[in-house]
Structure formats: structure tokens, C-alpha cells
């Protein structure tokens, strides 16, 4: 049914037009309702297409197949959550909404891309509006916005250079299958282009050493944008990485596997060790988010079907865990609770919020029966099955290290008694509950998501 593909395109343009309209009529509630409804519709349509397991291309530019539909589902769902989070937080919601609609289009275009140029375009479309979304909050936010802008400019220039280098060997630049382009094999320019692709995407995917901007931007930006950066933008970068490495450059898998192994190990250690000494919870989660990117890279380094599956599963898992955690951090930030010391006695001020944050952190550590455990289990399995036992061992060691800083926050929340209760707003409460349900329910019954992910990885590798 090609209609479904057109429906997605139509919904995307409807979202953009409704946001442009929103800038003029400036009615926050209507704008929230409209964008949320469209995102729900996008999620529903992609879920339907995923169920039908269609496979075709729309307008010659967008692919509809289980892989793209799975990530359209993820992105539209997570963006819906972030939209809800931003409603109370943004001083200028209609402008935010307009920029936000560009991010939506960018993320969905990356998920459905059929050529490298589309991917680069989509990445640019997600990152640049994010920088502006930070800056519309006021003068204090210029620094993180500029950092993000400059870094994205560097990353895009690298990506464009990579595209140019590969162009002589593969003029179609298509992701429709590398078998059609035998000329691509074994040139040093292609290798250089691979290097540049990995480096360029690593800026957004937060892999060491391209992640130096992450802590400052995550800490400086409002928490809803931090949730967007970590919950969606990073996922977009990883999806792009999966598409480029496993479709276009699959024949170079022994080489990029070694590179990604190195990146994964350094990223995990960097994120976890630096997180140990952080005192501000948002910055701590920024470093934790870096280390989580390292875990996701384990699956890519395994360079196997199971590896792709596990990375994709962990993208889902991390999106829900981190958006839930940042929702609570956002709420506490607006109540001037920021450092670990200020988290003291949170359990006595709002026990449900403390419990939810505890669940998210336990899941990030990888404690069963939550979604993070299943994700890490799959990642380490993929490493061992690809004969990278040492990589799995390093992953396990890093999980142990990470216990310390998450436990510090948990312990702080559950010690001491504070008298003044804190009440959570409705929209944030809804986001937290949705994330909690996802984290617990998929953790208890991961079967459906794993089979969806394995169908998607089949289409990715066989594309």
C-alpha cells in the first residue's frame, strides 16, 4: 500500500504548515494539540506500516520498509514526549514549535533516507534548529547554542567532504544496496571517506573524542532541549551511522569494526570515569549519556546481524530511560533543585518522582527486570558472539563503575527528610509515566520489540 508512505509525507508537511500558522495565531494550547495529534498520527501510521511490513520507496527519495518505519515510530513517539515536556518550559512555545517541526522532519528523513545526501540533509535539519531552540530562551543560553552550532558545522563539513570523496566510486550515492556499485571496493579514498563519516557522525552520536561539547551544552541548555539532544538527536546520528556503515560500506566491516571498537572502549571509560566526580545531576547525566553511546557502539563494533539488532534495541531503551530521567530533572530544575546535595530528601518530598528516577537509573545501570538490562544483555551477547569477549568484559566493568555515580544520586534522594512537598505538573507527569511504563513493560516482556528489531535489521542488511 504506497498510500501509507504518502500519508507520512503529508503528515510531515502538515506539521510544518501548522507550526508556521502557529507563529501567527500564537495560541499555545491549539498549537500543542495540533502538533501532538500529528505526531500521534505519524506514530500510528508508521506502526501500521511496520505491521504490514511494506517495502517500497516514495517520491524517489524516501524508503518505506520495516527499518525506516521502526525508527519513524521511535522518533515520532519520543518527539511527542519532548513536545509535551516543552509546553510549560518554553517561554515562546509557538516559535519553539516551528523549530521543533523542522527537527521532526529531519529525524524522519534520516530514518527513511535512501541516499547519503538525504542523510546529511536530515542530520543538518535536526541539529541546526536545536541550536536555535536553545537560543530563543534568552541571553543566558547563547554559549551552549553557539557551541552546538559550531560543532554541528564542523560535523556537517566532515560529512559533506566524505560524500564528495565517495562520489567518484558511487555516483548514485544510493543506499539501495552496495552490490549495485561494484566500483566502490578497496580504494584509499573510500577508506578516508569512511573515516570522515565516522568522525562526522560521532560528533552527534557523542563518541569520544568528538564529544567535548556534550557536557557544556547538555548542562547549559534547558532540560527539555537536553532531553531532545540526548533522546532524539543522538539516536538520529546512530541511525545514520547504521545506514551508512551497514548498507553502503558493509564490505569494509572488518575495518570499521576495529575503529568502532576503539571508540566504544574509550567512550565508555571516558563517560563513566568523568561522571564519577560530577556534582550537578544534569552534568552527571550528560556524561552518563556519553557512556551509553559507548555501549550502543559495542553493537555496531560487533558488525553482525545480532550486533545491529542489539544496537537498535538499545536506541529504543536509552531513548525512554533518558527522556524519563530528564523529564524529572527538568521538573526539579524549575524548582531550583540541581546538585546532588539538593536532591537530598527528595523521597520525602515526592516519593513517586524519587521512585521513578530510581527505576530509570537502575535501568541505565542495567539491572533486571528493566529495559536497560535487556539492552545491555543483547549488546554483550553480540560482542561475545562476534568473538569480542574482551569488549563485553570492558562493557561489564563499565557497568560496575557506573553503579557508583547512579547510586550516589539514589542514596541522596533516599536520605534525610525535607518537609516541603513538591508537586509535579501534569504534562511532565504524563511523560514520566509513559517512559516508566515503557521501561518496565518492555523490560518484563521484550519479545515483540526484539522481533520487530530483528525484522528491521534484516531489511537493513539485505537492502
Amino acid at each position: 500500500m504506497p498510500d501509507i508512505g504518502y500519508a507520512i509525507v503529508a503528515l510531515m508537511s502538515l506539521l510544518v504548515f501548522s507550526s508556521i500558522g502557529g507563529v501567527f495565531h500564537r495560541k499555545k494550547t491549539i498549537q500543542l494539540a495540533a502538533s501532538s495529534l500529528i505526531l500521534v498520527a505519524l506514530a500510528a501510521v508508521s506502526a501500521c506500516a511496520l505491521y504490514l511490513q511494506d517495502s517500497y520507496s516514495v517520491l524517489g527519495a524516501l524508503l518505506i520498509n520495516p527499518f525506516s518505519m521502526l525508527f519513524v515510530l521511535l522518533f515520532s513517539f519520543t518527539l511527542l514526549l519532548i513536545n509535551l515536556l516543552s509546553y510549560d518550559r518554553s517561554s515562546d512555545y509557538p516559535s519553539f514549535s516551528l523549530l521543533f517541526s523542522f527537527v521532526v522532519v529531519g529525524a524522519l528523513v534520516v530514518a527513511m533516507a535512501n541516499s547519503i545526501v538525504t542523510i546529511v540533509l536530515g542530520i543538518e535539519l535536526t541539529v541546526l534548529p536545536t541550536a536555535f531552540m536553545i537560543i530563543i530562551n534568552g541571553k543566558n543560553f547563547v554559549e551552549p547554542a553557539v557551541k552546538l552550532f559550531i560543532m554541528s558545522a564542523v560535523s556537517v563539513s566532515m560529512l559533506v567532504f566524505a560524500v564528495i570523496l565517495i562520489y567518484p566510486y558511487d555516483p548514485a550515492l544510493s543506499l539501495m544496496g552496495y552490490i549495485a556499485n561494484p566500483g566502490i571496493a578497496g580504494s584509499y579514498l573510500v577508506m578516508l571517506s569512511l573515516l570522515l563519516f565516522i568522525a562526522g557522525i560521532s560528533f552527534d552520536a557523542a563518541l569520544f573524542p568528538f564529544n567535548m561539547w556534550i557536557p557544556d551544552v547538555y548542562q547549559g541548555a534547558p532540560a527539555n532541549i537536553t532531553a531532545l539532544l540526548s533522546g532524539v538527536n543522538k539516536k538520529v546520528a546512530f541511525v545514520a551511522m547504521l545506514e551508512i556503515l551497514f548498507v553502503l560500506l558493509l564490505h569494509l566491516s572488518p575495518i570499521f569494526s576495529v575503529m568502532i571498537q576503539a571508540l566504544a572502549v574509550i567512550t565508555m571509560f571516558f563517560g563513566n570515569i568523568v561522571a564519577l566526580v560530577q556534582n550537578e545531576v544534569k552534568r552527571l547525566f550528560a556524561y552518563s549519556s556519553i557512556s551509553q553511546a559507548g555501549y550502543i557502539a559495542i553493537g555496531i563494533a560487533a558488525a553482525s546481524q545480532l550486533g545491529v539488532e542489539s544496537s537498535m534495541f538499545y536506541l529504543f531503551a536509552h531513548a525512554f530511560m533518558i527522556i524519563g530521567a530528564f523529564a524529572i530533572i527538568l521538573w526539579l530544575e524549575s524548582n531550583n533543585v540541581r546538585s546532588i546535595q539538593e536532591y537530598r530528601g527528595l523521597a520525602s518530598r515526592n516519593r513517586w518522582a524519587a521512585l521513578c528516577l530510581t527505576v530509570f537509573m537502575l535501568s541505565l545501570i542495567g539491572i533486571p527486570p528493566f529495559i536497560g538490562f535487556i539492552g545491555k544483555f543483547l549488546l554483550f551477547s553480540s560482542a561475545i558472539s562476534a568473538n569480542l569477549v574482551w569488549l563485553a568484559a570492558i562493557g561489564v566493568i563499565n557497568s560496575i563503575i557506573s553503579v557508583y555515580y547512579y547510586a550516589k544520586v539514589i542514596i541522596s534522594m533516599y536520605s534525610g527528610i525535607e518537609k516541603t512537598p513538591l508537586k509535579m505538573g501534569t504534562s511532565i507527569g504524563i511523560v514520566v509515566i509513559i517512559c516508566l511504563i515503557a521501561v518496565v513493560a518492555i523490560g518484563l516482556y521484550p519479545g515483540p520489540l526484539i522481533s520487530a528489531v530483528s525484522t528491521a535489521s534484516n531489511t537493513l542488511i539485505a537492502m
Binding site: P368, P369, F380, S381, I384, A393, V396
Partner: protein, 470 residues
């Protein structure tokens, strides 16, 4: 066939929900549901005794079908014994472990969750489910110590969680290695037992080392026992009861699984026996320098678990099944001792044996329960520990000749010290500490239940051992 495990889990889960929903009556509701679960567990034991075989496995749903992981629960003779023990100990802990009635809501909910995880772990038929229940149990107990305990509980809880998370990470890594190196990739314990001999030698050594360290931390035994005394001293009475009575059995049960699964483990049995013997004797000396009654009891746990490790390391049916029986017995004995320690603390507001005097005149039931507890710990005939210890030492002497029985010295040492303690502070009537508050009916009933089962399994061991086929 009646689905016993499913019924137990369902009852406990319903109890958990009810306890969370009814904060004011949580203890009553929790006791009711865990008592029902206990009755189901005991009836499972009785029905398997009558039929001479354990009930059939109960398969519920496919957890992750891509990895062949199904949520299947089954009784083996060992897990049946441990399930019965866990359900009784957890019931007594919920019903009578909290004379101060402090934070009953939190305590009952956490205990029920822990009971679910313990029974799930003992009954799990594959290592994946085993690992999940393991971690749930450990995290639950972390909160149990952290939220409900005495003054220094936070430090003890953190020490506990650091050791346990380390252990569980090793466990996860080992489980993954087992899965990918067995010829038929599987988490199923029986499939692994069948196929483990074809795992390459060096990988087997690695897996064995990882699992051994993980379970040694949890049991615990000598070099890795440091979390236990603090955790027990600082935990609430209920926390210590389940910590010592049930959590340490996770490690013991896991160690039995290691010896059943990996053929290479019997190569190292002599070294493990030596380590366990050293641990038992060393700890029984360490214990003599302690004054806190809870700390003393905590150290006896390490001694007894080391002796159980001697039994497991002998790797013959007598040793292994003896270890299982000793774990069953030790669960009752140690939770009785901790219950008494908690009651004495409640009665006199004192735990130091140097100033605790004349318990027998102030609280008769506590005093005689303590004596019974000592009997049960040191393996006096007619108590359940006697049966377990006899089987362990038969197995150990068969495997290691006379050296297998060296660890009896430790039992003699702790026996001597505990009788000295009892004589000096429990039974002496020269000085009397003033009674602050008497214990209630529920504490006495709890002690009575535990004493009943100690003697029941001591006098009629064949209820369980008939299933063991030794």
C-alpha cells in the same frame, strides 16, 4: 497437576499489591498472603513426598523467543527444599520480625518482593531467569538495609551493594559465555548440563572462575566476606533474617549449579575444600573477639556457609545434597537466632553480650529459643542441621579422606563460644538487666514456628531426603 510454583508466585504477587495498596494493614495482609504461599510450598513438599517425585515443570510464556528463553519454573529436589525454607522464613520475618512496628508498610512490601525473587530464583529452569531474580533480590535487600536499619545502615548498605553488583556483573558475563560456548546455544540449565563438557577447556576455566567468585561473594566465604558482618549488624531484624536465611542461599544454590554444570569444577575441588576449611576455622576465631550479639550470629553464618562449601566441593551426591539440606536447616536456625536477637534488643535495648545479663528471667521464650538456635547451629542431633552436616562430612570424607572433616573444628569452636555466651549472658541469673518492654505474641509464635520446623526436619529428614536419591 497443580501448578504449585505458579500458585505461590501469584499469591505473593497479590500479597505485594495488597500490601502496597493498604498501608495501614500491610503487615496483616502480607502475613496472610505469605502464610498462604507457605502452605502451598509445604503442600508441594508433601505431595512430592507422597508421589516420590517432584512436580513437573511449569512453562508460562516465551520471554525472549529469539534466544530460546522461556519463563519456565520447575522444582528440583534441591530447589523444592530451599523454596519451602524460604517461604517459611519469609513468612516468619513478615509476621514477627518487627516488634517495634516501625515502617511496616515499606518493610512488608520489600519482604514480599524479596520472597518472590528468592522463590523465583530457586525454581528458575534457566540461567537468564535466575539472573533476573538474583538482581531483583539483591536490589530489594539493598533498599531493605538502606531504608530500615540502625544508625550506620547507609555505609553497610553501600558496601553490600558494591559487592553484590560486582558479583552479579561477573555472573552476567559468565552466563553469556556459557550461552555462546555451549554447542546448542541455550540458557536452559538441563541443556547446559548435557552440553557443557564440549565447552573448550580454557573458556570453562574462565567461566568457572567468574561464577566461583560471584557465588563466593554471595555465600559468603573467607576472602570475600567483608560485606556480611556490617550488613547484618546494621539491617533491621527482618532484614537480617532474610539476608542470612535466604540471600546467602542464592550463592550456595548457585555454587551447586556450578558443580553440576561445569565438569572442570571437580578438578579444583581440593583447593575449594581447603579454602572453605580455612574460612570456617579463621572466621570462628574472628567471631570470638566480637561482643555484639548480632555480629556474632552474622559470623556464624559465614562458618556454616563455609562448611556447606566443603560439602559442595566434594562433588559427590552426599556432599551436594548434604549441602542443600544444611542450607535448608541453616535458614531456619539463623533466622531463629536473628529473631531472638531482635526480640532481646526490643526487650532490653541492649545487644552487647558484656552487659546483657539474665535474659532467662526477663524473657523466657527468647532465652530458650536462643539455646535451641545454638543447638540448631552447631548441629546437635534431632535438629535439621545435624542431618545436613552428617551428609556433608560423609561426602567430604569420601572425596578427600580425613582432610574433608577438618572443618568440624570450626563447629566445635563456635559451639564452645556460643555456649559460653549463652551461659554468661542469657542463662545467668546473678545480675538482671531491667526489662524495657516485653515481646508480643507474634514474636513467640514466630520462634515456635521456626523451632517446630527445625525439629521436624531434624526428626523426619526422609520427607526431603527421599527425593534426593543418594
Amino acid at each position: 497437576m497443580f501448578p504449585f510454583i505458579g500458585a505461590i508466585m501469584l499469591l505473593l504477587f497479590a500479597g505485594l499489591l495488597a500490601a502496597i495498596a493498604l498501608p495501614r494493614r500491610s503487615r496483616a495482609v502480607g502475613s496472610l498472603f505469605s502464610a498462604a504461599a507457605m502452605l502451598v510450598a509445604v503442600s508441594a513438599l508433601v505431595s512430592s513426598f507422597l508421589s516420590g517425585a517432584v512436580p513437573a515443570p511449569e512453562q508460562y510464556f516465551n520471554y525472549i523467543s529469539q534466544f530460546g528463553i522461556s519463563f519456565t519454573l520447575q522444582f528440583t529436589p534441591i530447589s523444592l527444599a530451599l523454596t519451602v525454607m524460604a517461604s517459611i522464613v519469609a513468612f516468619v520475618a513478615i509476621y514477627s520480625g518487627n516488634p517495634e512496628k516501625s515502617s511496616e508498610h515499606t518493610a512488608t512490601s520489600l519482604l514480599l518482593l524479596f520472597e518472590i525473587s528468592a522463590i523465583g530464583l530457586f525454581c528458575s529452569s534457566n540461567l537468564f531467569i535466575f539472573f533476573i531474580f538474583w538482581d531483583v533480590g539483591v536490589i530489594t535487600l539493598f533498599f531493605m538495609i538502606y531504608l530500615l536499619g540502625s544508625a550506620n545502615r547507609r555505609r553497610a548498605a553501600i558496601k553490600f551493594i558494591i559487592y553484590e553488583i560486582f558479583a552479579s556483573s561477573l555472573l552476567l558475563f559468565a552466563i553469556l559465555l556459557i550461552y555462546f560456548y555451549t554447542p546448542i546455544h541455550s540458557f536452559d540449565i538441563s541443556t547446559i548440563i548435557a552440553g557443557a563438557s564440549s565447552i573448550p577447556q580454557h573458556v570453562q576455566i574462565l567461566i568457572f572462575a567468574l561464577l566461583f567468585i560471584a557465588f563466593l561473594i554471595n555465600m559468603p566465604a573467607f576472602p570475600l566476606h567483608l560485606w556480611l558482618p556490617d550488613a547484618h549488624t546494621e539491617a533491621s531484624t527482618q532484614g537480617s533474617m532474610v539476608l542470612s536465611g535466604i540471600l546467602t542461599k542464592f550463592g550456595g544454590y548457585g555454587m551447586i549449579l556450578v558443580f553440576q554444570m561445569l565438569p572442570i569444577s571437580s578438578t579444583y575441588s581440593i583447593y575449594i575444600m581447603a579454602l572453605a576449611t580455612l574460612s570456617a576455622i579463621y572466621i570462628s576465631f574472628v567471631l570470638m573477639s566480637e561482643h555484639d550479639i548480632k555480629r556474632i550470629i552474622a559470623y556464624t553464618t559465614i562458618v556454616e556457609m563455609s562448611i556447606i562449601l566443603v560439602g559442595i566441593s566434594s562433588a559427590n551426591p552426599y556432599g551436594i545434597y548434604g549441602a542443600a539440606y544444611a542450607m535448608l536447616a541453616h535458614g531456619f536456625a539463623i533466622s531463629l537466632l536473628f529473631l531472638v536477637a531482635g526480640s532481646v534488643k526490643h526487650t532490653y535495648q541492649e545487644r552487647d553480650i558484656r552487659s546483657l545479663r539474665g535474659v532467662v528471667s526477663g524473657s523466657v521464650s527468647s532465652a530458650y529459643s536462643f539455646i535451641t538456635g545454638i543447638f540448631a547451629t552447631t548441629g546437635v542431633p534431632l535438629t535439621a542441621t545435624f542431618v545436613g552436616d552428617i551428609m556433608i562430612f560423609i561426602g567430604a570424607v569420601t572425596a578427600f579422606s580425613v582432610y574433608g572433616a577438618v572443618s568440624i573444628i570450626a563447629i566445635i569452636l563456635i559451639g564452645a563460644f556460643l555456649y559460653y555466651v549463652a551461659n554468661k549472658s542469657i542463662l545467668s541469673t546473678k545480675e538482671k538487666l531491667p526489662v524495657q518492654e516485653y515481646i508480643g505474641f507474634s514474636q513467640k509464635a514466630g520462634m515456635a514456628i521456626l523451632i517446630f520446623f527445625i525439629f521436624l526436619f531434624g526428626m523426619l529428614p526422609f520427607i526431603v531426603t527421599n527425593l534426593f536419591n543418594v
